[in-house]
Subunit: 288 residues, 2 copies
Amino acid sequence: MIKKLTIFGVGLIGGSLALALKKAGYCEKIVGCSRSEDHLKRAIELGVIDEYTLDPVAAVEGADIVLLAVPIRAIPHILKTIVPHLEINTIVTDAGSAKGSVLAAAKEAYGGTLPANFVAGHPIAGREKSSVEAAIDDLYIDHKVILTPTSETSSEAVLTIKEMWQVTGATVETLDVKQHDDVLAATSHLPHVLAFSFVNALSKSEYGDAVFDYTAGGFESFSRTASSDPVMWRDICLDNKTSILAALDNFQQDLAGLRDSIQDDNAEEIESLFLHAKTTRDRIIKKS
Amino acid sequence: MIKKLTIFGVGLIGGSLALALKKAGYCEKIVGCSRSEDHLKRAIELGVIDEYTLDPVAAVEGADIVLLAVPIRAIPHILKTIVPHLEINTIVTDAGSAKGSVLAAAKEAYGGTLPANFVAGHPIAGREKSSVEAAIDDLYIDHKVILTPTSETSSEAVLTIKEMWQVTGATVETLDVKQHDDVLAATSHLPHVLAFSFVNALSKSEYGDAVFDYTAGGFESFSRTASSDPVMWRDICLDNKTSILAALDNFQQDLAGLRDSIQDDNAEEIESLFLHAKTTRDRIIKKS
């Protein structure tokens, strides 16, 4: 049970957590904080939060848990603002898609050492829309939330954040920071980067817009991630740069091999590569 | 109205055409031909075809239209077998995903000159499954069929094939052969090649299968085309090699530019590229 939860950035992610906790009766008071008063008023109207303030310092006063559900590049500034005012027992967590950069920002904000009660986290859930209007109380059911505690993090703080997410119906797992960033770079960030680039490459076609006149289901599903929020994904690329570049290089190496097989009319090799991919994907999708 | 339609390869594509024509009462007799008698018997049971034969020469006897709906690499052999036995008025058409290679095979089978009554075609439709069991009478409704007549093709033959596809509810358009192959390479063949390679690159992760433990919707949609039939896509890569390699090179060039922007922390450039892709895709999807 949480007495006071403060959410910075009451959008899809923060708002959906608030709704799920309210539904479960797991939180006495949820306070929203952001730079947009209109936005916070809307969150009140929608019953997502109980109170709001535009003042970050007032927002964290007496909070059991502070969730940073803002765009990932906004986290460092908020941390710098609130850390000097946090009470000793307040646990701070976040929902950013990259964890190494968030932990680095936290370390800096906390004066060079990560505190016991900072728990980096990443709920793996989303919808096409990202505003508070899109928040739903069942967003996290059967979804995974990854926490990346470090050696400094207290196991009690981890347990508190774990329980909070479990109340929403999520499965909570812990991962090493680098493993989180590498794995998410490969399975989530890379397909976004590739889809953006794929659509851009096509848009430069000598046939102009006519290149898009005969698109079918393959195009639509493959390019879906290219309709994602450009600013959010720009920030993820900047924040998880190292892992994303590594994943990109692995992909380009594999693609160069496949290109050679096509160039050489190597039917056997092409079929073997395609079969391996199909077998792998069918196994993954069946499991999930 | 067609008196006799012969279909080589009664799978999803040929079978769905047969069902649509039967439903419309547009065809008196549909004869199936393939190398598998079990398969043809199943097509009879399902009411997809009226008769079958394992003999290609008998199959085309007296046919108004012969449709080659076999895997694209099987087309040259069938053409060689049937061409000497075709009646003067029989129109031959196909359903292959690449058109330059099919026309080259036809030219060879017809002794070096394309005849007036060979109409290369490509219905842009598909389902996850590809067997005759997956055939449905509404597969082509609101889908496009592209015909790529050459200067040798008679406009009457084109009209006959156009009408046949229109009866199924499809929109029929004609395109230049090279434009068809380039455009389909970019919007359909390339996303298949990339998705196969993407899944393979991930399968080589240092984290083993654990890399796939946290996949979400982005992975699933982006990799969907990697669950396609490896043999069919191998053949498309071999048959449309030139256009696919060109599309692949364009993509790799674009991706290299995006990689540089990430490497250089060029936030403005990354955002601009992502925004351009999103704007383009949202416009395309809205139109379609």
